[in-house]
Symmetry: C2
Subunit: 160 residues, 2 copies
């Protein structure tokens, strides 16, 4: 929402705002490695959080793959992230903000009856100028925490 | 995404699709009663879920109030809903689809360190033509499950 000020409580997260587009790659012991296109959007609504939505697509035919949406909160340098996944998973994740780097680890991962078991998610996000890189590590379906996703995105539009 | 077919797994939820606008009112023992404007959007992306985003605003000056976002899933007549709330709450909710009526109750409500305690959420959603009515009951901050929100929305745009 252009013109809506960023709430002071989340002002240190201003470096995230905007629409980011790029590519990522994923792997896990239970699936074939894959690559994807990705769009991530962080926006403000004038409240003490940053809204967030992400979607990915197959690089070959553009078919939709993953998506997730939620909200980023901040208390001092403590970042809190609440995410809904269409796989039936709800993620509550916390960690530290250090400049424009955020290191997060889930404090709870809950799920619907039909969802696959996800036990832990760890997320590192780093922004340098208009480049955002991230890595996601995951413990799921009985496997130990390990690399799952990484990507590099470029800020395509900056929220004014 | 116009043109993207609704996935067969969630075809019985087609009656939700579109953008809905209206008003609601809320109360709880710990807060003053309030009224709000509301926009709800249900959309499809070609995957086995319906994407969902909601936001509310004050009727007097339009300032943003609540928001939530997540995904609806369906297995037979079992509805699953995963929601992120900017209050730091993650909600996993399940229930039954009966025609165009859905009755849901949370199976888990988790939260970040700084969020207020929410113990249970119950949601009833009913669509008749282009009118959507809902009621939300909540147990939070030590109070028993009781009325929290109700609203009536009109379909302002139908996803084609």
């Amino acid at each position: 929402m252009t013109g809506t000020p960023l709430h002071a409580d989340v002002a240190p997260l201003a470096f995230l705002l905007g629409t980011w587009v790029g590519e990522g790659k994923g792997s896990y012991p239970t699936i074939a490695p894959f690559a994807y296109g990705e769009e991530v959007r962080f926006w403000r609504v004038g409240k003490p959080f940053v809204a967030y939505a992400q979607r990915t697509w197959a690089l070959d035919d553009g078919r939709p793959l993953h998506a997730e949406s939620g909200y980023w909160r901040l208390t001092g340098d403590r970042v809190e992230l609440v995410l809904a996944h269409p796989t039936g998973v709800a993620e509550v994740t916390e960690g530290l903000l250090d400049g424009t780097t955020i290191a997060l680890a889930s404090t709870s991962v809950t799920r619907t009856s039909s969802a696959k078991l996800v036990e832990r998610l760890e997320r590192d996000v780093r922004v340098v100028g208009d480049t955002l890189t991230y890595e996601v590590r995951m413990a799921a379906v009985g496997e130990a925490v390990q690399f799952h996703l990484s990507g590099e995105l470029t800020r395509a539009a900056r929220e004014r």
